[in-house]
């Protein structure tokens, strides 16, 4: 069924993201993994609001007909904004970690003095 493809994509993205976070040893790649999970969840929210043959839920100059749900789109937007903050914070932490250890490999972290 063609309508189920987004849900399969959501599952695939979440699993790929989790696998990246768990198995990759590069800090930047871990950050990318978190981003992929986030995109998967956002896609899921958007897909929930979709209705067949619907138009975008914009009141202005609407062509008429049924609209898709606006609430999940608002939720997704909020989640994207939060995602930006999380991403920026994580990357700046990675910069600091790189300054201290001169490496991004998690196996080489943790040593050294306080």
């Amino acid at each position: 069924m063609i309508a189920n493809i987004p849900f399969l994509a959501v599952m695939a993205m979440i699993i790929i993201g989790l696998a990246t976070v768990v198995f990759k040893r590069n800090l930047i790649k871990m950050v990318i993994g978190v981003s992929i999970i986030e995109s998967g969840v956002n896609l899921f929210l958007i897909t929930l609001g979709y209705r067949e043959h619907s138009v975008a839920p914009i009141y202005t100059a609407s062509p008429g007909g049924i609209m898709s749900y606006p609430v999940p789109q608002a939720l997704t937007l909020t989640s994207i904004v939060i995602g930006v903050a999380v991403l920026a914070l994580m990357l700046s932490l990675v910069i600091y970690i790189y300054r201290h250890y001169k490496t991004l490999d998690i196996r080489k972290l943790g040593g050294g003095e306080e």
């Binding site: 914009i58 202005t60 100059a61 937007l77 930006v84 920026a88 990357l91 910069i95 300054r99």
Partner: protein, 153 residues
Amino acid sequence: MMSKIVKTIAGISFPFITIYGLYVIAHGHLTPGGGFQGGAIVASGLILLLVAYGTDWIIEKIKESHLSILESLGALGFIGVAFLGLIFGGMFFTNFIAGTSMLFGGIPTSTAANINTGGTLPLMNFAVGLKVIAGLFAIVLVMAYAISKEEGE
């Protein structure tokens, strides 16, 4: 620092990007978009300049501390409008302008776009736009500055 071609093109396209971003902010209550999206567009225009002209050039013009004050002002504007709703409308975030004769006080009568509607929403969009422009640009500026200093060493 990029080549002269990149600098010129960045200089030409920067005003267009900024205007487009401001348009998205101003029409946030009518069309898809709003404070965050428009602010992100404007900030990306500024980041284009940052990439083309180099961090040192930008940091001479804009201080990070000024950006954080702008960001605070944006956030204060947002929560200030919410508090005004409490004072004039009785509840936090009340849309006290809608339905009055003030600016943005109109109520849409048809699906035709009318920018003079929306009540407090456009004001909130402006505040969020200011915050996002300042905040997003400050993040990239600080990161770029930190990295460029590291490479220079």
